[in-house]
């Protein structure tokens, strides 16, 4: 399983005791759905931001892993998502400063695609992802050893809700990526070196070419120096 489609979903749901929940999701029930609030314009790391579900360490790739990050989405529309790799932010303003809003908002990249949102006038709107409907083009490639993550920033204050949080009050962020590891990461490196886009199809094609070359190599005549070498026996 060296080419795998992976995803990670963050919500600001807590267990009602601590602001964050490590390595999984808290169990909820009717009358026991708690969310952790955060201030407007305060970036929150969805992996290690101490709010909502978190993991122990930041996303860091091993020596034999590549990630092709091709999609990110948020809800509600007031939430923004910014991808970072090392110290570099992906989305920036026209003056080349990292996006002051905190990246793309939930109007542009709603989660899920087609999510129902009730606006301030009380109307239900189905939000459609038309900007990155097919994901980031070109996709963001994260290389071995690099640290990566996603920060969310709300343009309004997000309140802490004890027990009564409903579907539309939950802040969400979804990241989808292709994980290339093991032998396929070597193929990925060769493709990158040659300037090819890192896609499932290209990895497959490269592997086919390698296998075909090996079939030919098995059938090929010996090199001249070997053929003409003096016999030992």
């Amino acid at each position: 399983m060296s080419l795998r489609r992976q995803c990670y979903e963050w919500r600001n749901i807590s267990d009602g005791i601590k602001p964050s929940f490590l390595n999984g999701y808290p169990v909820n029930s009717v009358g026991d759905v708690n969310t952790t609030g955060f201030l407007a314009n305060q970036p929150v790391d969805i992996f290690i931001g101490d709010i909502g579900n978190n993991i122990d360490i930041p996303g860091q790739l091993k020596a034999y892993q590549y990630i092709v990050l091709d999609s990110v989405a948020v809800f509600p529309p007031t939430l923004h998502a910014q991808i970072y790799v090392g110290t570099t932010k992906y989305f920036q303003d026209p003056d080349n400063v990292p996006s002051r809003d905190g990246g793309l908002d939930g109007f542009a990249i709603p989660f899920p695609n087609g999510a129902t949102w009730t606006n301030s006038a009380g109307s239900n709107i189905n939000l459609i992802n038309t900007v990155f409907a097919d994901g980031l083009k070109p996709a963001l490639i994260i290389q071995p050893g690099q640290v990566w993550g996603v920060e969310v920033t709300s343009s309004v204050d997000v309140p802490t809700i004890s027990n009564t949080a409903t579907e539309q009050q939950i802040q969400k962020c979804f990241v989808k990526y292709l994980l290339i590891d093991g032998g396929d990461s070597i193929v990925a490196k060769r493709l990158l070196d040659a300037g090819w886009p890192l896609t499932v199809e290209n990895v497959w094609k490269y592997k086919q070419d390698i296998l075909k070359t090996h079939i030919y190599a098995g059938l090929a005549p010996l090199p001249t120096e070997v053929v003409k070498a003096k016999r030992k026996v």
Binding site: M1, L3, S29, V30, G59, K62, F111, P112, T164, L219
Partner: protein, 257 residues
């Protein structure tokens, strides 16, 4: 019927009771199989998903019931006949092959899978496709595949809140959808051959391979021609060697010699 598109669904309906039966409803945070688990509509014999030696399985889609907040339920009726008619399970679904989980989190350890919010079933008009399982997952002969779900909204705990009296048998609380292509018999062998050659296994590639075999051309003519050319040069080299060593017979000499 050697190549068949298969769909397997699992559903958990209400039991007609109040929802407190822990033998009928899975507890929150625990993972269970849709094939042989203790809850919902699993296979009657509770068999594991062992792929036989003459089969090859390609899993193409998995999805489950969307929704996160346990507070966004819907009830109908007046006490003492309040029925739960809509429930958001806050569920995730994962593929397990032998002992390996398909989904892992960014710190490279076990992940619970993909949520129903990202990959929803049943599809609703406003829910457009977002998550796609691409590339598909191959399950090889003699491997065991399992699809496991985890609910994070606990039904029995929620029943304790007393907001409904009954969960009718017509209320679907959670569901999982799996779509896969089953190759069996000779098509499974072709699928394995294609996999060894690094060619993606789709209905199209397997059918193409079968056509090529029937035309007796092998996989593709380039390899065949290359092989012929090499055999020819090898034959000439052997003849030359035999002549050099003085062991050639009259049949090895032509008019050109």
């Amino acid at each position: 019927m050697a190549i068949r598109k298969q769909i397997y669904t699992w559903e958990l309906q209400g039991d007609g009771g109040d929802g407190t039966d822990t033998t009928y409803y899975p507890r929150g945070g625990q993972s269970h199989s849709i094939l042989y688990g203790d809850f919902g509509a699993v296979q009657a014999g509770k068999q594991t998903g062992l792929v036989k030696e003459d089969q090859f399985v390609v899993i193409e889609k998995i999805a489950c019931t969307p929704g996160i907040s346990a507070n966004s339920y819907l009830v109908q009726g007046v006490a003492p006949n309040v029925n739960l008619v809509k429930w958001l399970p806050n569920m995730f679904v994962n593929i397990v092959i032998d002992t390996t989980n398909y989904y892992q989190d960014p710190q490279n350890v076990y992940g619970v899978g993909v949520s129903g919010t990202a990959s929803s079933y049943p599809k609703e008009i406003e829910a457009l496709p977002y998550y796609e399982l691409w590339p598909p997952v191959y399950v090889l002969p003699h491997q065991t595949v399992d699809i496991r779900y985890t609910l994070y909204n606990d039904i029995t705990l929620s029943a304790g809140a007393g907001v409904w009296n009954t969960i009718p048998t017509t209320t679907m609380l959670a569901a999982v959808y799996v779509e896969y292509t089953l190759y069996d018999g000779s098509d499974a062998m072709m699928a394995q051959k294609l996999m060894q050659l690094g060619i993606p296994i789709t209905v199209g590639t397997v059918e193409n391979y079968r056509r090529l075999l029937l035309e007796n051309k092998g996989l593709e003519t380039d390899t065949f021609n290359h092989y012929l050319k090499l055999m020819e040069s090898e034959r000439k080299r052997e003849e030359k060697e035999m002549k050099t060593q003085g062991v050639a017979r009259y049949m090895h000499y032509s008019s050109e010699d």
